[in-house]
């Protein structure tokens, strides 16, 4: 790692005593830099993660429709998403940059590809777990194929789908901290900066803590959504 060329301590000469002495955690610094550094980073982070989860969910859903309807293509889709999941993210950036450049697109492609495995697998598992006798009763009662899917199979797969969404959301929020390797966005940025500065660590703790808090909040929101959408699960 290269040592930063400027002053070792940010705000050199004007910082609080905590900053000047490289304290482990400087609340003054947090207060001073909330508006210019931390809050923008948080919003960017939410944006990075939300785009990835939204697109990943849409792609996984389309793939799951195909994989559920045509059993033969399920294994290949599974293997491809497995494979994407195993590529180390830094390596994936290296591979992508020549094609998509130092852009948001590069980051999102990487983030989306990590959501696919979890989302797709949970959707397919959820759909296959619908009891055969329930599908039999639906068909025997005169549901069309589409009605059977939208009114019976999909709602019954919801708990599994939403569980997949929880895992994908938490992991995407965490993985999104590597975005600064490509573009200067998200909560990874203060962490990255602190790593290069070597001495001053407050940013790591604050930004890291915010990533964890964001993941917990997002997880909690999905749990609430799950409860609202699947009241029968707790019946």
């Amino acid at each position: 790692m290269t040592v930063a060329s400027g002053p070792v301590i940010p705000n050199f000469g004007s910082g609080s005593s905590c900053e000047v002495n490289n304290g482990w955690f400087c609340t003054d610094w947090v207060r001073q830099h909330w508006a210019d550094t931390l809050q923008p980073a948080l919003f960017q982070h939410i944006e990075l993660a939300a785009i990835a989860i939204g697109i990943g969910f849409a792609i996984a859903f389309l793939l799951a429709l195909v994989g559920f309807r045509f059993r033969l293509v399920d294994p290949p889709i599974g293997i491809i998403s497995d494979f994407l999941y195993t590529i180390p993210s830094l390596a994936l950036f290296q591979i992508l940059v020549p094609f998509t450049g130092i852009t948001l697109l590069t980051v999102e492609i990487a983030l989306v590809s990590y959501t696919l495995l979890i989302l797709y697998r949970n959707m397919i598992e959820g759909l296959h777990a619908v009891p055969v006798e329930v599908v039999d009763a639906a068909r025997g009662s005169g549901f069309t194929r589409i009605q059977t899917f939208t009114r019976v199979e999909l709602p019954l797969a919801l708990p599994a789908i939403l569980t997949g969404l929880r895992v994908a959301t938490v992991s995407t929020i965490s993985i999104a901290t590597i975005a600064p390797f490509v573009i200067a966005k998200g909560l990874g940025q203060p962490i990255y900066a602190a790593l290069s500065e070597d001495v001053f660590k407050t940013e790591i703790f604050v930004a890291g803590g915010m990533v964890i808090a964001l993941a917990l909040v997002a997880d909690g929101l999905i749990v609430l959504l799950q409860r609202g959408l699947t009241p029968w699960v707790r019946a």
Partner: protein
């Protein structure tokens, strides 16, 4: 929505699966008169369920035909056909994510009935199958097995179908509840008078439930089609005789109740109701080591007597 009972005709109905030797259902021909219960009975794996599922085309015929009130099932739109046929299966298959009310309202909802209509209809049907109206807002997971099957029956009746298909509906229910459900189903049938095709491998259930029995042998071939009494008295061949069992004379006694017999004057002895079958009355005599039974009416008053000799006559 459909109405009363329909006549059902199997006409050389045949199902073969490619690559499998022999047919699953082999040239099955029989007519179920409107409003009667026809029980398909026979050994497990004999093609009874396949025959049943040919009717609502969950399985398609290979050859032959099945007609409901003269119209071939093949000539009808698949979805319309199924909406007009009540379907009850052993595992019930209630929709776990829907309330009991929504489950019962399945077919009316497919017909586009308004919410308020469905609510009223569900309440009626819950009462008809002997469940409290407070069940409407519960989920299937909150019900016992017997209660779930009652809801399954209510769901099948909700569209007022002229024909009901019932595939071992009481097969997974414990014996005590099972007997009660059979009795209630018969009471219900006297009220709604549907044409019913009922599959079971239990000969006692078949004799109790059926107006007619179709004994199906392995390979989906019809061995005998007649009333329970005729089959018990005159099994068509060794297969039927063996299937209904060596105690067929005893089983035949369960087709009659004491109400059908001439009673003697009131006497002392173990008491039994008029609605008791001759078979059960005989069993009671044996158990109590008695020679005469005191017969009571619904209120429990002794109105006559019957002796062992009279029961066996």
């Amino acid at each position: 929505m459909p109405g009363q009972a329909a006549e059902l005709v199997f006409d050389e109905a045949t199902k073969r699966y490619p690559g499998r030797e022999g047919a699953a259902v082999d040239h099955l021909s029989l007519t179920v008169p409107a409003g009667e219960i026809c029980v398909l009975v026979g050994p497990s794996g004999g093609g009874k369920t396949t025959a049943l599922r040919l009717v609502n085309r969950l399985i398609e015929l290979t050859s032959g035909d099945i007609r409901i009130d003269g119209t071939s099932v093949k000539a009808q739109n698949l979805v319309q056909l199924r909406r007009g046929i009540g379907y009850v299966i052993q595992q019930v298959g209630l929709f776990p994510h829907m309330t009991i009310e929504a489950n019962i309202g399945t077919v009316p909802r497919l017909y586009g009935r308004p919410r308020s209509w469905i609510k009223t209809r569900s309440a009626e049907l819950l009462e008809l199958v002997g469940l409290d109206p407070s069940y409407a807002k519960r989920y299937p997971a909150q019900l016992s097995g017997g209660e779930r099957q009652r809801v399954g029956l209510a769901r099948a009746l909700a569209g007022n179908p002229p024909l009901m298909l019932m595939d071992e509906p009481f097969g997974a229910i414990d014996p005590i509840v099972r007997t009660r459900l059979q009795d209630e189903f018969l009471r219900l049938q006297r009220e709604v008078r549907k044409t019913v095709v009922f599959v079971t491998h239990d000969i006692d259930e078949a004799i109790k439930i059926g107006d007619r029995l179709a004994v199906i042998r392995t390979g989906g071939r019809l061995a005998q089609y007649d009333t329970p009494r005729a089959i018990l008295e005159k099994p068509a061949d060794d297969f039927v005789a063996e299937f209904i069992g060596p105690d067929r004379a005893l089983k035949a006694l369960s087709l009659h109740t004491l109400a059908e017999l001439e009673l003697g004057p009131p006497a002392d002895g173990p008491t039994c109701g008029l609605e008791m079958t001759v078979r059960d009355a005989l069993a009671l005599l044996l158990e109590k080591k008695a020679t005469v039974l005191a017969v009571t009416d619904e209120k429990g008053a002794v109105i006559g007597s019957i002796t062992r000799e009279e029961l066996l006559a």
